[in-house]
């Protein structure tokens, strides 16, 4: 085997190594916190008091906030995303679809800090005015902006799933006298639901992991949210906002790494579900 081939093999395993290292370092840096303070209350409580004596670290409120914001993004984004994908795959001529597809590529390229800035300047005041709230910096505003950010993922993968449905299905449906919409809605969309499901889970993974937008728009309140119109702080925003101020190797520092480890495991699980849906479809 020539040495160049050995080198690319090594590069391949470097990918495996880096992924493993991320997990290993998160566990290693979390361990001092887990060993001394690890308990179920860490997940269920909503008190986060890093500088009190004794300090209290509970991430329940942040987990619920992440869930609410992701939920809002998915509930708003998925119907639009799926309908847009149907338009691109089934209704529009290919030449027109290409233009729309490149617009989604542009959306995917807008940095999340820019989305956060726009959300702060435009979406938050609009939400405050529309729902008559004291502040527009709420979980709902963050979810609304995220619903736009996850559309490229949703639309491109859903479109791919719709296009992968064998042409014979549609032809059989037309032969039985169904019109175009009946064929799309009753035959093509149900046949593509595995792929569309995977798209939804991948979009969910993106929404959970999104950091700058939620850090800037969600409002940052530490308590357990009681409504989607509360200011809140999801788990990514917690880490980004405190990690610079936490003294290295303090208990707060290790608690933030523990939050990072939980976040890593959640996104890992969501992506694994998406991958298993795709693999399951291929196997069939």
């Amino acid at each position: 085997m020539p040495y160049q081939q050995r080198l690319v093999t090594l590069a391949g395993y470097a990918v495996l190594l880096i992924t493993a290292l991320i997990f290993v370092f998160l566990v290693q840096q979390s361990w001092p916190f887990v060993r001394e303070h690890g308990s179920l209350v860490f997940f269920t409580g909503d008190r986060w008091l890093p500088v009190s004596l004794p300090p209290v670290f509970q991430i329940g409120g942040f987990l619920v906030s992440s869930g609410i914001i992701t939920g809002v993004a998915i509930i708003i984004g998925v119907p639009f995303g799926v309908l847009a994908a149907i338009s691109l795959a089934e209704l529009l001529p290919p030449g027109v679809s290409v233009i729309f597809r490149s617009i989604f590529e542009v959306t995917a390229g807008i940095p999340s800090v820019v989305f956060g800035f726009l959300g702060l300047k435009i979406v938050a005041p609009a939400v405050a005015g529309l729902f008559n709230l004291p502040t527009g910096l709420t979980g709902f505003s963050a979810g609304l902006v995220l619903s736009i950010m996850i559309l490229p993922t949703l639309v491109s993968l859903s479109e791919e799933a719709l296009r992968a449905v064998p042409r014979e299905y549609a032809e059989a449906s037309y032969a039985l006298g169904a019109n175009r919409w009946q064929t799309i809605w009753r035959v093509i969309v149900p046949s593509a639901r595995g792929g569309i499901g995977a798209a939804v889970f991948l979009a969910m993974g993106r929404a959970i992991g999104e950091t700058m937008t939620v850090l800037m728009i969600a409002g940052g309140r530490l308590a357990m949210p009681t409504s989607i119109f509360d200011p809140m702080r999801p788990i990514t925003a917690l880490i980004a906002s405190e990690v610079n101020n936490a003294a290295r190797n303090s208990i707060q520092y290790h608690a933030l790494f523990t939050a990072g480890l939980i976040l890593f495991m959640i996104t890992f699980a969501v992506n694994a579900i998406a991958a298993s849906v795709i693999v399951g479809k291929k196997a069939r």
Binding site: Q4, Q5, V8, T9, L10, A11, G12, V15, L16, I18, T19, L21, I22, L26, Q29, F80, L83, A84, I86, S87, L91, F100, I103, E105, V106, T107, G109, I110, P111, S112, V113, V114, G116, F117, I148, L151, V155, N179, R180, W181, Q182, L202, I208, G209, E210, T211, M212, M216, I239, A240, V243, L256, G260, L263, F264, T267, F268, V270, N271, A275
Partner: protein, 279 residues
């Protein structure tokens, strides 16, 4: 009855229109708002009075340094791994594990890359808060993008090219390096450009690996601390109440222009090359 179904198709198209409208309007709005704040002085001078006056040259130069450093780090590993997966990886359990790692690496939240980069590069390897640490962190973040782009580009080269080369007595490595890679070059380069556009806009990974809000001079080496456009925008917006709005819009406009120019450039180039293809 027909009209009922037509109404549903029109609703679909309306949804499509509503999904592309916000991002398009956002891009346009930012560029319009940014114009008044952009001047020769803003782009080419150092910040003064903690960023409230002067320009943002160090942020622009810092972002370029980061992209340079990220490219140096991610290209050999990313392209190498892409070649390995497409051309050499045996169909066994270890390869499937590698594929799984790749998918999961692509799904890791950017703030977690920040924690990882801080632990390994800033602390453990002792690079401190620096361009080097931040570039390596961004390289880890963009690695799955480069690997996937390389692999896709190689998959796009017809199998008959490999068979022809091998039948003439070339080794597998000779085939890959002299026949297959040149055919896949455009895909690799454009994929890397798209990954770098992503890196240029990331904030969370550089937040704790060395970015600073305002520095009086340009970075001197990979070990310097640095300003970067996304981080500068984030701090301006959230932590500097005295920051004039037109300066924030200008920073956002310059960042967006840089990122979109790379994206659109890479996409157009890819389409042109695709049209030229003979196979």
């Amino acid at each position: 009855m027909r009209t009922k179904y037509q109404a549903r198709e029109i609703a679909c198209l309306l949804a499509l229109f509503l999904t592309v409208l916000p991002p398009l309007a956002a891009v346009l709005y930012i560029f319009v708002q940014a114009l008044p704040g952009i001047s020769f002085e803003y782009i080419f001078s150092m910040p003064a009075r903690r960023g409230i006056e002067g320009g943002i040259l160090p942020a622009i130069v810092g972002t370029l340094w980061l992209m340079f450093g990220t490219t140096l780090a991610v290209l050999p590993i990313g392209v190498g791994a892409g070649i390995y997966l497409a051309e050499f990886a045996p169909n066994n359990r270890l390869t499937r594990l590698l594929e799984m790692a790749l998918v999961n690496l692509a799904g890791v939240p950017s703030v977690v890359f920040g924690l990882f980069g801080y632990t390994i590069f800033v602390i453990m390897l002792g690079f401190g808060p620096s361009i080097l640490s931040a570039s390596l962190t961004l390289a880890a973040l963009t690695l799955p993008l480069v690997v996937t782009a390389t692999r896709q580009a190689l998959y796009g080269v017809p199998m008959s090219f490999r068979e022809a080369s091998l039948s003439l007595g070339a080794t597998r490595w000779q085939t890959v390096s002299t026949i297959i890679m040149p055919c896949a070059r455009t895909g690799v380069v454009t994929g890397t450009l798209l990954a770098l556009a992503r890196a240029a806009g990331e904030t969370a990974p550089i937040l704790i690996t060395g970015a600073a809000f305002a520095l009086p001079n340009l970075p001197r080496s990979f070990m310097s601390r640095f300003m970067a456009l996304p981080y500068h925008l984030y701090i301006s917006v959230t932590q500097i109440p005295a920051m004039p709005p037109e300066r924030m819009w200008a920073t956002a406009g310059i960042l967006l222009f840089l990122v979109l120019a790379m994206q659109v450039g890479a996409t157009i180039w890819r389409e042109q090359e695709r049209r030229k293809k003979q196979w």
